[in-house]
């Protein structure tokens, strides 16, 4: 979808645009499926028709195949990222009894830090903080200092929400396992734009949102991955009927479902999970490697423009494209003051306090011309606007 008032949309990592196909898909769902199938839609019913009840697991399998490098049966769409992260961390801690430390980096996204601090407080555990140079990200050396036989769990982001630093999933997962600990990867800023090999890297758990590069729409539900070998012993704390073994028995006593469905709690958020299907299909049709290639070209283009037009701005993101996701952050004390005028002109990047502009470049909907227009406008306005 395009809107004429939007000249350069540089915030695809906060909220991806709706695909035209998604507008049709949701409309069709409202009338023909919800309105037409009514309650029968939960189980399918008509020949060739999908039931809504296991839609999250079907989309999860698609996402696993196209983007995550995950075999079927390990991924589902569920609650918000925060709630799924809470479930994964609580479950992971139970899988490492006697270990008392949770490791996370200080620059991780607030939700990741807040969830971990809350669980540490309630379970009598200790949080160990990896202090990082934001642009350098979490290195193996920095993580190794905090790992020991006391480590239960490590929580890291694949791509840093601010700097765009792209972590080495394989190396850091292996390092964590060498200490006998488990790892949760937060894929919010990488899912759909960087190929991930969760199965091959031995990742234990992963979580991510779907409204950025997966174009699921405002507040679309998140996904989570639980490695097959953990599923039998995986117990999450929010015991609801749709995560139980036999929901429609309405029986006494909770028994978790077999497989990934035990991660669920309540009724699946069906309408909210429809739109992401179109983006997953589109990524599959072009291939995640082509998506990644354009992503790298876009961020290279943006950095070259910043170097040329905004020489006073600091680049708070890695210069090495192999260590960078699909957004860059640039810092300048004049940025806060220019944001209202940028938005008025239809040039829409993201502002991150205290002084960062984040350019999120969604490969399948951001053009090189948009990036050029956007950076030029920022440079022009910074030159003429007094700092706030």
């Amino acid at each position: 979808m395009r809107d004429d008032t939007v000249v350069a949309y540089l915030d695809g990592n906060s909220l991806g645009r709706p695909l035209v196909a998604s507008v049709d898909r949701v409309s069709e769902f409202m009338t023909a499926q919800w309105g037409g199938r009514l309650i029968r839609g939960w189980s399918g019913g008509a020949v060739g028709e999908e039931g809504w009840l296991d839609l999250g697991q079907r989309i999860g399998d698609d996402l696993g195949r196209v983007v995550l490098g995950a075999a079927p049966g390990q991924t589902t769409i569920g609650d918000s990222t925060t709630v799924l992260l809470y479930k994964l961390v609580r479950a992971a801690v139970e899988l490492r009894p006697g270990r008392t430390e949770l490791v996370i980096d200080r620059d991780n996204f607030p939700t990741d830090r807040y969830v971990l601090e809350g669980i540490a407080a309630e379970r009598g555990l200790t949080v160990r903080w990896v202090e990082t140079d934001a642009a350098a990200g979490v290195t193996a050396e920095a993580l190794a200092e905090h790992l020991s036989l006391s480590t239960a769990l490590v929580v890291l982001s694949h791509v840093s929400y601010r700097s765009g630093f792209l972590a080495d999933v394989h190396a850091l997962t292996t390092l964590t396992h060498d200490a006998g600990a488990l790892i949760v990867w937060d894929l919010c800023h990488s899912a759909g734009v960087v190929a991930t090999e969760l199965d091959a890297c031995g990742v234990d758990f992963a979580v991510g949102c779907t409204y950025k590069y997966l174009n699921g729409g405002p507040g679309s539900p998140a996904f989570a991955y639980v490695r097959a070998e953990h599923l039998a012993d995986f117990r999450q704390p929010i015991q609801g009927w749709l995560g139980s073994a036999r929901p429609f028995e309405m029986g006494q006593g909770y028994e978790p479902a077999k497989g990934i469905r035990r991660l669920l709690s309540g009724t699946p958020p069906v309408i909210g999970m429809l739109a992401m299907r179109d983006m997953i299909a589109l990524i599959e049709s072009v291939g995640i490697d082509a998506v990644r290639a354009k992503s790298v070209a876009l961020t290279e283009h943006a950095i070259a423009l910043v170097d040329a037009l905004l020489p006073d701005a600091g680049l708070a993101s890695p210069r090495d494209p192999a260590r960078r996701g699909s957004h860059i952050t640039i810092d300048h004390d004049g940025f806060e003051a220019v944001m209202p005028e940028l938005w008025r002109r239809g040039i829409i990047p993201d502002f991150r306090r205290p002084n960062g502009i984040r350019l999120g470049l969604s490969p399948l909907s951001t053009s090189f011309a948009e990036v050029s227009l956007g950076v030029a406008a920022i440079a022009e306005l910074v030159a003429v606007t007094p700092a706030a």
Copy 2:
């Protein structure tokens, strides 16, 4: 929305129909708001435009005014019913330190029981079970037996999911408070069809889903109410950035937001919460008392038909309309065998194992003629179909 293949939709208490206005609302949101406002939509931006970020609280206030008897600032739309119930119960337990017992009835909905059992196990608490005659529901006498100075919390359903029994919120809340305990009311089967006076009854907490009589669509997010006097001390365990005091500071250390927003964890499920607005507006335009009056007339009509046409079926619901919600359950060993043919004929009630048919009568979309057709078809098929 009507579908020609649906002759009698008698399951409005499982999934309400989409309003025509909701189809337009969601479509407009996809193109003009998501597609047009993009990331700017979170904060509003254009004159007269609502921001998405506090949409849950705005809808919560509407719901409070129209249906719940709740003043503004105490209700929000959030996660699934199960997740919200988990948060409420965890928070409530913390407000009654030293008290060790949680009280719930054996006939409560599975999620309510499973959530409570899980929390009891993890917090070292004991669940006390109120055993009820399903059709009689939870009486004051039955509850009183389980209340003591050890009681931290009572969890009850306003309308029983199976029998339709309508509990006395005021009396049971007062009884609970007399023991110094707190109460959570589950309004899943009453919200939108029975007026509730949460403020006036002194209710501490409430939760409910929005896809039944509030017509929010498959898996639309649930609502929760936290009484104003509890908000300052209310702490829920899933600490996410959107429940924090200053989300966009991205700061270190979780500090809960003031007011009902502290109940939130992740990004609000915006698309999922759009459709319910139309039903809330429709209920406001006709008045909840008129909705309740038609609801009573519909269940009276259904019971009269059952008495006349299905004399061998048992009525598992109260005969007193003052003690009944908007659905009735009838039992007969022949019901399971007739369900496939009923569905094929476009007559859609709900089957509840082992032998119950539940007729959910949504006052603003179910006609008396539909009820007549439906019960007549059930009676006709039971007479000619061998039991399964």
